[in-house]
Symmetry: none
Amino acid sequence: MHDPYGTLIGSLALETGTRIALLVMDGVGDCDNDGRGTALQQARTPNLDALSKISALGQHIPVAPAVTPGSGPGHLGLFGYDPLLYKVGRGVLSALGIEFKLTRRDVAARLNFCTLDDDGNVTDRRAGRIGDDENRRLLKKIRGALVPPEGVEVLLETVAEHRALLVLRGDDLDDNVGDTDPQATGVPPLPPGRGRHAESRTAALYADIAGRVRTILSDEPRANMILARGFAKFPDWPTFEDRFKLKPAAVAGYPMYRGVARLVGMPVTAQPTTAADVCAETGRALADHTFVFAHFKYTDKTGEDGDLPGKIARIEEVDAALPALLERKPDVLLITGDHSTPPSLKAHSWHPVPVLMHAPFLRGGDGPGFDEIACRRGQLGTVRACELVPLALAHARKLEKFGA
Amino acid sequence: MHDPYGTLIGSLALETGTRIALLVMDGVGDCDNDGRGTALQQARTPNLDALSKISALGQHIPVAPAVTPGSGPGHLGLFGYDPLLYKVGRGVLSALGIEFKLTRRDVAARLNFCTLDDDGNVTDRRAGRIGDDENRRLLKKIRGALVPPEGVEVLLETVAEHRALLVLRGDDLDDNVGDTDPQATGVPPLPPGRGRHAESRTAALYADIAGRVRTILSDEPRANMILARGFAKFPDWPTFEDRFKLKPAAVAGYPMYRGVARLVGMPVTAQPTTAADVCAETGRALADHTFVFAHFKYTDKTGEDGDLPGKIARIEEVDAALPALLERKPDVLLITGDHSTPPSLKAHSWHPVPVLMHAPFLRGGDGPGFDEIACRRGQLGTVRACELVPLALAHARKLEKFGA
């Protein structure tokens, strides 16, 4: 991994007792809602307003200009891992999303149930979008009948609808396995060992397994085959603790975010979901950790639902809960999102994300409020997400001087 | 080509029906003209002013901080090709400038006529700056007498004064040919096959050709030899269409800009020169293209002439013509320049270039006006030129999410 900036910061990091809190309001950034202003602009947030007057404001670019991040890359950036360098395969992301605990012996892939016709061509890549119950029944049927090839364990988990997780577990497995999903109908599934995948032992194993699954599902009317993509191993990255000399804790109520924390070796100390509980648990975790990542989901969920009033209300909930965190006086408090989720888009977006950093050694406060407009004028300027942990380390006096 | 950002954007690009227009006011950026303000500040531009109130403003850096771009790199950046990675040889730029249609079998070089003394040393690298007519006469003389080596065709075109274009056409030609221009007088032309160029078959061919030209021109009093530099092949880059999944059209009245469009496979659909025609033709091209590049030359030309009132008038012409483009309602409209050409400098410059982006999913409008000062405070911030097409793609909903 050629990561000059991350390596530099790691080489300068010092272990000290100062404490950093990172509060992620998932998807907090917004557009202007036809002139009514962003959710942050419209929300009544007396605590954030007061804090912003004695804090530095700025905005971060989650991945790169114009790029909309998924939750994985969005959080990796916030954890100080450049998501353009630290890439996570789709199989691993699927495992994170259901908090399946991958080991170093595993190769994960995302499965779709699909429909094949009598000639073996795909007629529906999603098997009519079967429901979760049907998905569970089919996996149970496969588990009951499948005799895996020698030396490999096959683990299957329902994700949702037609989607499932496949994990191959064994010694010396590789992830050089081709997608079998042809991304089209009227053609057969692709062979996993084609082209540059020909040398993969795991591709040959998976071809064998897929053949056996085809037999097991042959009497099914709709979901009579599986398609796999994104074969990937749990990445072998430096842990957050080793890299930044921090003792981290994750406070996160949803599986995906606990999963991303695990990706960098960050242990989960609490699983709250409400703003009040998130702030209270974060405060508690600060008692014996030097870095606490806290995740609040509903600013994203309301954005995805196109629910602007809901998003405003969720921001106000966080604001009301904030004193429980502030009273534990972290040395540095970062409040931001992993990306923007404008209700007008009903989806994640590429826009820069507002950042508030309450910390010593500022150039005055940037207030009066914490919103997209104030933030883009703030003293932090526009930074990349993966520069925020380094900045927090600097303000917490955890970085040595570079060069004599 | 190691281009992680361009490759990422390409991998996320979706083919959709939304339409993007890029209006380039060549060299539009300016300095402050001894406190009188920039040309954009002084121009009366009611249409741009109104548009800026409902648009995002920002500024772009064409190549890199402090670097003044030529027209080639300036436009490549705007087309989403990082000009630090996508380099164009001088020979190819010469061909673009006169719209010579290079093929994949060609190697192009820039020629200067020069004067050699009896010992074969260069006494004048520009042959007394001969005129265009003399240049044409000399090329005609060479064409008439030159017997090219087996398997290669030699094409010669006048550029201007002492400058010409040389194109070698044949199978398996390479561009590993050394410059023969010694960049000094009192020394002989350099051999094209020296050092690392020794293995080049094309260098040997060109040495042969240059020897024959020397004989043909031996009775000329001034221009009795040629010097060549910048041997280059037409670059083998991904086309704009393949890269961004857009159906592009170029609307450009001058050869250089049509040439740069061809460099990325962008077909030219109209060749207007006046602002009114440029805007009208751009609107027309939007009917059946998803990306239209429109070029207006005279903001640069007046800048190069040091003609501030002229530059102001040209900006006002564009402003007056704008409604013909706006009424075609592109989903995203970018208005910017390929670089700045301050009349006080009479040349291209390194300054950031104002950008206006009219698009959905903004964070309010940034107006009240479109000029260098408003733009550097705008919501787009300061971006690299090669990030503008990606941003337009994002706002036109043409980019998938990165990671799950």
